[in-house]
Point group: C2
Chain length 242, copies 2
């Protein structure tokens, strides 16, 4: 859409009062986030927060035996580094770039200063925190009760909502790691979606052809999270860039 990302491409930043935006601007650094980059390892101190524009970051838990599971996903609707705000400084999960793109980086201290000074900022962050919690809770539910097919649909929709087009750059192996299932399971599920005309794909690229059907095939988990996020963060409605 536009080659130079603007501050407004992150909905959380865009929702801040103009005065706060202006004050933060000099300290916001636009950085590129390549696929697979690890922003934070478990236990590592968070010193920067990241507001993605078109990048997507996954919060991934990696078990002792190497198996993994995605806890939640962060895109242009939020930011990476909530543990700084909560005071823990680190988390038990890894933050890894799941879809390459850009983000605004802000020094942690600067971020906290602004939160402490302006209740509007803190309030926004708290609302985002609740939407993040909702997503985590629903992930737990989905992991318990739904089939790989349904989870794949949910996952594609979550990604789609955070991108500007219908093209996802990601291998089935990567998706399998996120969902915490075998790659073969994703292959089978993707094959079924393809047969239904919902998606097409080849070698690390997936295109969604029929989003309405994708939503119909997904479990309730997607819409529950979507609705609750819209409720909690109503200012994140689509806006034109300034």
């Amino acid at each position: 859409m536009q080659s130079a990302p603007t501050l407004k491409q992150n909905h959380l930043l865009a929702a801040l009062p103009g005065a706060v935006q202006d004050r933060l601007f000099p300290d916001l650094e636009l950085v590129e986030l390549p696929l697979g980059e690890v922003l934070y390892e478990p236990g590592e101190a968070v010193t920067q927060v990241y507001f993605p524009t078109n990048a997507i970051v996954s919060l991934l838990y990696v078990m002792e035996d190497g198996a993994s599971a995605e806890i939640s996903v962060v895109g242009n609707e939020g930011f990476v580094g909530v543990s700084l705000f909560m005071g823990g400084g680190s988390t038990t999960s890894r933050s890894v770039v799941q879809s390459a793109g850009w983000a605004f980086k802000l020094p942690g201290q600067r971020f906290m200063d602004e939160c402490n000074r302006h209740s509007q900022m803190a309030e926004l962050v708290l609302h985002y925190l609740q939407s993040l919690i909702t997503q985590m809770a629903q992930t737990a539910v989905c992991n318990r009760h739904h089939s790989i097919d349904q989870q794949l649909c949910r996952w594609l929709l979550l990604s789609l909502d955070r991108l500007s087009d219908n093209n996802l750059v990601m291998t089935q192996e990567l998706i399998a790691n996120m969902l915490g299932v075998r790659r073969e399971g994703v292959t089978a599920a993707a094959g079924r979606l393809h047969k239904l005309g919902v998606i097409e794909y080849s070698r690390g690229r997936i295109t969604v052809l029929d989003r309405p059907q994708l939503e119909a095939l997904s479990c309730e988990c997607y819409s529950v999270v979507k609705k609750e996020t819209d409720r909690l963060l109503p200012y994140l409605v689509p806006r034109k860039d300034g």
Copy 2:
């Protein structure tokens, strides 16, 4: 231990500065929480917060088809009603008493006033929030990767940590609802634990006989949450009642 619960039996309240405790005391109402009582339905406005002493409350998500899954558990280490603090006012999950007991009830407005006035209070709540998030994340992981046997162990340990003795009053059916599995699956798992001499039980009462073995049989999920909670809330170490 003592028949009249004191404020200090909730670790979060106990960790507050004396002055704050004194000021809150008149507004804290000790209430009995019977098994199965629903504190909040999904979407219902939170107007009170509850600080359990010996009661345990589960945050339970109930799906459209009636199936359920426990998202997290709250006992004397925390409080029920975090969505008030975050500003959402309600959650997508149900808060239900999983183990009967007592709690201190505080009007929501009063709670928020205190949070806004005293950063120490807000800080404490934020730290608790992070430990809650950690628990949710680990629940998601556990749901994905671990067997019913392992999950039962984890679940028993989480409950045990929030009670004063080794006796849990709960049926296998209830546990099954929490774990989101069939009752028969819990029966089988409990039978195996019994055979190993770890627990004994009958008709809605479970006694843990060998806690170390229970921990050994549990997946890493329990200890991850335990360690992270201890790190985030170090003031919640065992204290004598005053």
